[in-house]
C-alpha cells in the first residue's frame, strides 16, 4: 500500500470561549468540503469536532480561558483527520473518561456521551493526555468514494 499523501492541512488557534464551539465545527466542515463529502459525513465531522472542542472548554480549562488548537488534514486516500489540542488540566484516567455516560460534571447536565458520539461518528479516536499538561484528541474518518461519472 503506498503511503497516503497529504492534500491539504490547516491549523487554527482560538481562546476557549464557548462561542468558539460553533466556529470550530464550521471551520472543520468547510475544510472537509473540498473532498465532496456526503451530507451525513459533514454532519458527523461537525458533531465530533464540536464534542472535542466542548470537552477542552468545559473540562480542559474549566473556569479559565486557555488556548485551543484545531489541526485539520486531508489525505489523498480521502482520510480526514481532526486534532483538538489544549494545554488544560488533562485527564487522569482516559479510559474512564471515554466510558459512555461517564461525566465529572452531572450538575451542569453534561450527558457523558461526548467521546461515545465521536467514536460512533468517526472511524478512529485517540486520546493522549497528561495531567497538568493538556490533552490531544485525534480523530479520523475515511470519506466515501465519489461515484465515477461517465
Amino acid at each position: 500500500m503506498p503511503k497516503a499523501v497529504t492534500v491539504n492541512r490547516m491549523r487554527c488557534t482560538f481562546p476557549s470561549c464557548s462561542s468558539n464551539e460553533a466556529l470550530a465545527r464550521s471551520v472543520a466542515a468547510s475544510f472537509s468540503a473540498q473532498m465532496n463529502p456526503t451530507c451525513e459525513e459533514v454532519s458527523d465531522i461537525k458533531c465530533a469536532v464540536s464534542e472535542a472542542v466542548t470537552n477542552a472548554i468545559v473540562h480542559g480549562y474549566r473556569d479559565s480561558i486557555g488556548e485551543i488548537t484545531l489541526l485539520l488534514k486531508l489525505e489523498d486516500d480521502r482520510t480526514f483527520t481532526a486534532e483538538v489540542r489544549d494545554k488544560g488540566c488533562g485527564i487522569a484516567d482516559v479510559e474512564e473518561a471515554m466510558r459512555p455516560l461517564f461525566t465529572t460534571d452531572p450538575e451542569h447536565e453534561r450527558s457523558g456521551m461526548g467521546f461515545t458520539i465521536i467514536e460512533n461518528f468517526m472511524d478512529s479516536l485517540r486520546v493522549v493526555s497528561s495531567p497538568g499538561k493538556g490533552t490531544r484528541v485525534v480523530m479520523k474518518k475515511k470519506l466515501s468514494m465519489l461515484p465515477i461519472m461517465k
Binding site: A22, S50, E109, S111, M113
Partner: protein, 123 residues
C-alpha cells in the same frame, strides 16, 4: 436569527399542553440559555404536558442531549408528561445513539424522506 439572539422562546399552548419550539444549534454554548427559558416557561405555566419541538434545530451534540434528558428529569419531578417532536435526521441519530427512546416518547409528524422532513434539514 439564531437561538442566541432570540429573546423570546416560541411556544403554543393548547389546553394544558405546552409546545416549545427550539431553533438553530443546540450546543454547550446555547444550551444554558435555552434551558433557563424552558424552565421559566414551564414554571410559570405548569402544563400537564410539555412537548419540545425540534423541527427547526439544525445541529445538536451531546450538550443538547443533556438538555433534553435534563428537561425530561425535571418534567418527571413535576409530574408533567414529556415528549420530543420532529427531530431532523441528524438530531435523531444523536437521540438514538443515547437510547433516548427508552425514556422519552419521540414523535415525528414527518416520516423520513418526506418533503417536510427534507425542509426541516439545514440547507
Amino acid at each position: 436569527m439564531n437561538a442566541e439572539q432570540q429573546d423570546v422562546i416560541r411556544s403554543i399552548t393548547s389546553g394544558k399542553s405546552l409546545t416549545i419550539f427550539l431553533e438553530g444549534d443546540i450546543d454547550h454554548h446555547s444550551a444554558r440559555r435555552i434551558r433557563s427559558r424552558i424552565d421559566t416557561k414551564v414554571f410559570i405555566q405548569r402544563p400537564d404536558e410539555l412537548i419540545l419541538d425540534l423541527s427547526r434545530v439544525c445541529f445538536m451534540d451531546s450538550s443538547g442531549l443533556g438538555l433534553i434528558l435534563g428537561r425530561y428529569a425535571k418534567a418527571v419531578e413535576l409530574g408533567i408528561a414529556f415528549k420530543v417532536a420532529n427531530p431532523n435526521r441528524d438530531v435523531r441519530r444523536i437521540l438514538d445513539l443515547a437510547g433516548t427512546e427508552r425514556l422519552i416518547k419521540i414523535e415525528s409528524a414527518y416520516p423520513p424522506g418526506t418533503r417536510q422532513e427534507v425542509l426541516c434539514r439545514k440547507p
